[in-house]
Amino acid sequence: MPAVANPEDIAKQFGLESVPASVKRLSQLLNKCDATDTDDFAKLVNADPDLTKRLLCAANPRAECEEDYGITTVEDAIQRCGMSAALLLAMSDPLINAVHKTFSLMLNIDLKNVLPMTLDPFNFTHVVGEVGFSGKATGLVHLRLPNEFIPVLGDRLLGLTPADMQDEATANDVIGELCNMTVGNFKSNLCDAGLTCKLSPPKISRTEEFRLHIVEGGTSQRYGFHSKEARLYADLSVNPFSES
């Protein structure tokens, strides 16, 4: 779509939320990706304590605590993991926020972030919602939830009974729309950061053994969420340079 004047003013006029700080930071990082050296990119990461922490953690995958880190500087972590991995980590907040917003506003469920390895693994048949996006960035988001959570979704969202939600088409439509809202929000944030892309329609499946699909040239990250009603995983795989 062609650019028009004052998009931020128009968004304000409709009462839309302002662009989050995490999206502005992602945009700044993307602007530094073309540089021949990584100094400016590293400076931006260094200015963000949360992102620095995540990157150092990613660069030291075997360490059990910060004292065990062999790589201790952002510059070395970027050398080790690459800019793509740092960008993926910078996309974490927009995706996590989108998951929280969708579950809170639509289902009145307050999720807590948890380390994925602390959740019991889904080694049983569970539901997988997949939404892809393509353009300047290409990627896949998978939301995975246990089957026992499906009746809760139907009840909270539409007041449906567990029997109603046994109809696979109804259950898939509900799950698909929740995935669409979550990833649609995330994708809008990517667009605002300069990574213009389009969504694909959600695909819903059921599986016992989920294998993460990593997009070509991409990196991936898993996020865990927990509430008294349920637990879920969100998996993000993205190539932020798919049009480069």
Partner: protein
């Protein structure tokens, strides 16, 4: 009053229907832009609540076609979509929409936006009158 909900998700159409159930209005449904145009032409709704990403014909194309037709262009449109990218919102605003609500949303937010465009009356009041 007639509100037309155009969304490929049955879930969203059900939410819109439930949201306006306490009011004296009929919620019509369409699953894509092509169906939306047909229902709008046949029913002349007072308001259209329109999604963007849909199969067959998306919401932006439907909005453009609606604005080209003399008999339909005055029907107010509120976008209800997960799309909140600034450039896209600005482009859609230029085509002519009355308001814009981003999914996920609360029922109250939708009612508030709709009430700014059409006068909703509670069902009981309408019966009593």
């Amino acid at each position: 009053m007639k509100i037309l909900s155009v969304d490929d998700s049955k879930t969203i159409r059900m939410i819109v229907k439930r949201t306006f159930a306490p009011f004296d209005c009929t919620v019509l449904e369409a699953a894509n832009g092509e169906e939306g145009l047909a229902v709008a032409a046949a029913e002349n709704p007072d308001l259209i609540v329109l999604d963007i990403t849909m199969p067959v014909m998306d919401g932006v194309t439907m909005l453009g076609k609606l604005k080209e037709r003399a008999d339909l262009k005055s029907i107010p449109v509120i976008m209800l979509t997960a799309e909140s990218g600034r450039e896209n919102v600005a482009y859609i605003a230029k085509l002519g929409v009355r308001d814009y609500l981003v999914k996920p949303f609360k029922d109250d937010q939708l009612i508030e936006k709709v009430e700014r465009v059409i006068a909703l009356q509670p069902k009981a009041e309408a019966v009593a009158a």
